[in-house]
Amino acid sequence: MKTKGPKPSAEIGVEKLTDMYGQMVTIRLFEERVVELYRRAQIPGIAHVSIGQEAVPVGICNALRTNDYITSTHRGHAHCLAKGADITQMFAELFGKVTGYCRGKGGSMHIANPATGNLGANAIVGGSIPIATGAALSAKLRKTNQVAVCFFGDGALNQGVLLESMNFASIWRLPVIYVCENNQYGEYTPTKRVTAGDIEMRGKALDIRTAVADGMDVLAVYDAACEAVDHAKSGKGPSFLVMETYRFIGHGMSDVDRAYRTREEEQEWQRARDPIDRLRTTLIEEWRLKQSALDAISSGVAKQIDISVEAAQKAPLPAAEELMKHVYAD
C-alpha cells in the first residue's frame, strides 16, 4: 500500500502557504502569551517557548497527515499546535486545569493528544526518541502507512538512546523521521562546545538518509519533510533532518541575562532570519498578498488566544479524586 507523499512547496499554492503563515503566527502569539502569563504567575512550574523556531514544527507537520505520529520535547508547545492542538485545551493544561489535554496532570512538558497523533511532549532530553521509533515500528508492523516524526533538540544528540534508536530504525528500515532542531544551545551551553563532529554525520554513519535545511525557512523545512515522508511511506526507512534554527529568548522563563551569548548574535538571527517575517515577505512579494490580509490573520489569532485564555482560566482545577485516577489503565 504505497500512498503518495505530500506535494512539495512549489505545488501547494497560496492557500496552504497562508495557512502555514497563520500557524506560525499562532505559535508566536501563543508563546508570547505564555511568557506573559508566566510572568504574571498564572502558569505554574516551568515552561520553554519556541519563539523564533516556528518554521520547524510548521514546516514538518504540514507534510504529515493527522494520523501520522509526532513526539516532542520539553520545548513542545509549538509541535503540539502545529500538529493540530486546540489552543484552549493547551492553555487549560498549562494552567493545570482539568479541561486541559492531560486533565492538568501533565503540564507544559507533557502535552499529548491521540486525536492529532501527538504521542506526547517529554521532559527527559532524548526520552521520546525510542518512543517515536517504536511507534514507527508499530506502524510498519500494523501496515498502516503512518510515519512517526521525532522532534528533538541539539542537546539530545549526546544522549545514548539516540544511537540505539537510530540504529534500530536503520536496520529495520522504520518509517521514522528524526528532526533535530539545532537552536545552537542546550540550556546555557553552546552546542558546538559539547557536540563532536558534524551533526549530520550522526545519521549518515548509521546509514540513514540525512538532510540539512534552513530551519528559519518554513518552505525549506516543508520540502525536506515532504521528501522524508515520501521516503518513509514508500518503505525506504528513516530520515534524519538537521534544522538550523535559533530560540529568540531564553532557555526557560528564568533565563533572562543570557550571558552565554551576545546580543549581537541574537539580533542577527532575529532581524535577518525571523521565519515569520520571511514567509510574510514571500507572500507579499511573490504571491501579492496584501499586508492588511496578513495583519488580519494576526489579529484573528490574537483574538482567538484571548478567548482561549479566558475560557481556560474559567475552567475548573482537577478535583481531589483525580489524584488516584489513571495511575493504572483498566
Binding site: A112, P130, G134, L137, V161, F168, I171, V327
Partner: protein, 333 residues
C-alpha cells in the same frame, strides 16, 4: 489452584513459552523482541520455537541496546501493539530505567488517561549461578517502588503461565521477573487448550499452617516450603504465602494469615536493606500489630555485591536452614 492439570508436568521455562505462544495466537498485536530471543530462542531457551511458529514479522532479535529495547516497546504499546520484550538479566534493567520508569510507568497518568502502555518486560532475578555481581541481582524492589508499573514474581510453572497471560492482556506496563534458577523446575500445568489466567493481586497460600506465616517470593517460596516441611517434623506448622504480584499487592491475605499465626518471616532474594522484605514487614507490622507475638523478621540477600566464589555466594541468599533456624527462634520466644 483452580484448574485441573491432568497430571501434565512442564518446566517453568515451558510454561512461559506456552503463555507467550497462546497469547500471540490469540492476539496478533502481541509481538516479541529482545536479544537473541528469536533464532536462538533466548539464552535460557525460554522463547524456543516462537520465531518458527510466528515468523520474523512478529519476533525479532535486537541489537544489544536495552534502553532501546524497552523504549521502542513504549512507543509500540502506545500505538496499538502489545510488545513482550526481554531484558536478558535483571541487572541490565539499570540501562533501561528511564524508559521504564519515566516513560512507560507515567504516560497513562501524565496524558490524563488518554494513552495506554500495554507492554510486558520479561527479565530475570536471582543468584546462585556463580555469575558474580553484575549478573545476579534481584532488582524487583526498584520496579515495585514506581507507581504505574506492575510487578509479577511467579514461583511455579502454573503461576508463571497464568500470570504471564494476564500480564500480556493487561493494559499497563508489567515487569515479569523470572528466577533463572527455576527455569528447569517442573510443575503441573493444565493442557494448552485450557485457557486460564491468574488475576493480579491475589496471594496464594502455598501451604496452610497455624504457628507462623512465611511470606516468600519467587523461588524463595520453595525454600520456604522445604523449611515448612522440616519445621512440621519439629511440630511447628508454618503457613507459606506467595504474594505472586508485588504490585498490586494482596496485603489482606498476608495480614489475615499473620493475625492467625501471630508470627511472620518475610523472605525475598533482593538485597535486604530498602528492599521488598522491608515493605512487606512494615505493612504486616502495622496492620497485624496487635496480633504479633514477636517482631516480624526479614530474610533478604545479604547487603553485598553478589560475590563470584561459590564459597561466598552461598552465604548471600536466604536458605532453608536460615529460615528454619529463625522460625525456631521465633516460636521459642
Amino acid at each position: 489452584m483452580s484448574m485441573q492439570t491432568n497430571g501434565r508436568e512442564i518446566t517453568m521455562s515451558e510454561a512461559i513459552n506456552e503463555a507467550i505462544r497462546e497469547e500471540m495466537g490469540r492476539d496478533e498485536n502481541v509481538v516479541l523482541w529482545g536479544e537473541d530471543v528469536g533464532a536462538a530462542g533466548g539464552v535460557f531457551k525460554v522463547t524456543k520455537g516462537i520465531l518458527d511458529r510466528f515468523g520474523p514479522e512478529r519476533v525479532f532479535d535486537t541489537p544489544i541496546s536495552e534502553a532501546g529495547i524497552v523504549g521502542l516497546a513504549v512507543g509500540a504499546a502506545m500505538t496499538g501493539l502489545r510488545p513482550v520484550v526481554e531484558v536478558m538479566f535483571g541487572d541490565f534493567l539499570t540501562l533501561a530505567m528511564d524508559q521504564l520508569v519515566n516513560q512507560a510507568a507515567k504516560i497513562h497518568y501524565m496524558s490524563g488517561g488518554t494513552f495506554r502502555v500495554p507492554m510486558v518486560v520479561r527479565t530475570t532475578l536471582g543468584a546462585g549461578r556463580r555469575t558474580a555481581a553484575q549478573h545476579s541481582q534481584s532488582l524487583h524492589a526498584w520496579v515495585a517502588h514506581i507507581p504505574g508499573l506492575k510487578v509479577v514474581l511467579p514461583s511455579s510453572p502454573y503461576d508463571a503461565k497464568g500470570l504471564l497471560k494476564t500480564a500480556i492482556r493487561d493494559n499497563n506496563p508489567v515487569v515479569f521477573f523470572e528466577d533463572k534458577i527455576s527455569y528447569q523446575r517442573k510443575g503441573p500445568v493444565p493442557d494448552p487448550d485450557q485457557d486460564y489466567t491468574i488475576s493480579f493481586g491475589q496471594a496464594d497460600v502455598k501451604r496452610e499452617g497455624s504457628d507462623l506465616t512465611i511470606i516468600a517470593t519467587s523461588s524463595m517460596v520453595h525454600m520456604a516450603l522445604t523449611a515448612a516441611s522440616k519445621l512440621s517434623e519439629d511440630g511447628i506448622q508454618a503457613e507459606v504465602i506467595d504474594p505472586r504480584t508485588l504490585v498490586p499487592l494482596d496485603s489482606q491475605t498476608l495480614i489475615d494469615s499473620v493475625k492467625k499465626t501471630s508470627r511472620c518471616i518475610v523472605v525475598d532474594q533482593g538485597y535486604q536493606s530498602f528492599g521488598v522484605t522491608a515493605e512487606i514487614a512494615a505493612l504486616v507490622a502495622e496492620q497485624a500489630f496487635y496480633a504479633l507475638d514477636v517482631p516480624v523478621r526479614r530474610l533478604g540477600a545479604v547487603d553485598v555485591p553478589i560475590p563470584f566464589s561459590p564459597s561466598l555466594e552461598d552465604l548471600t541468599i536466604p536458605t532453608v536452614e536460615s529460615i528454619v533456624v529463625l522460625a525456631h527462634e521465633m516460636v521459642a520466644g
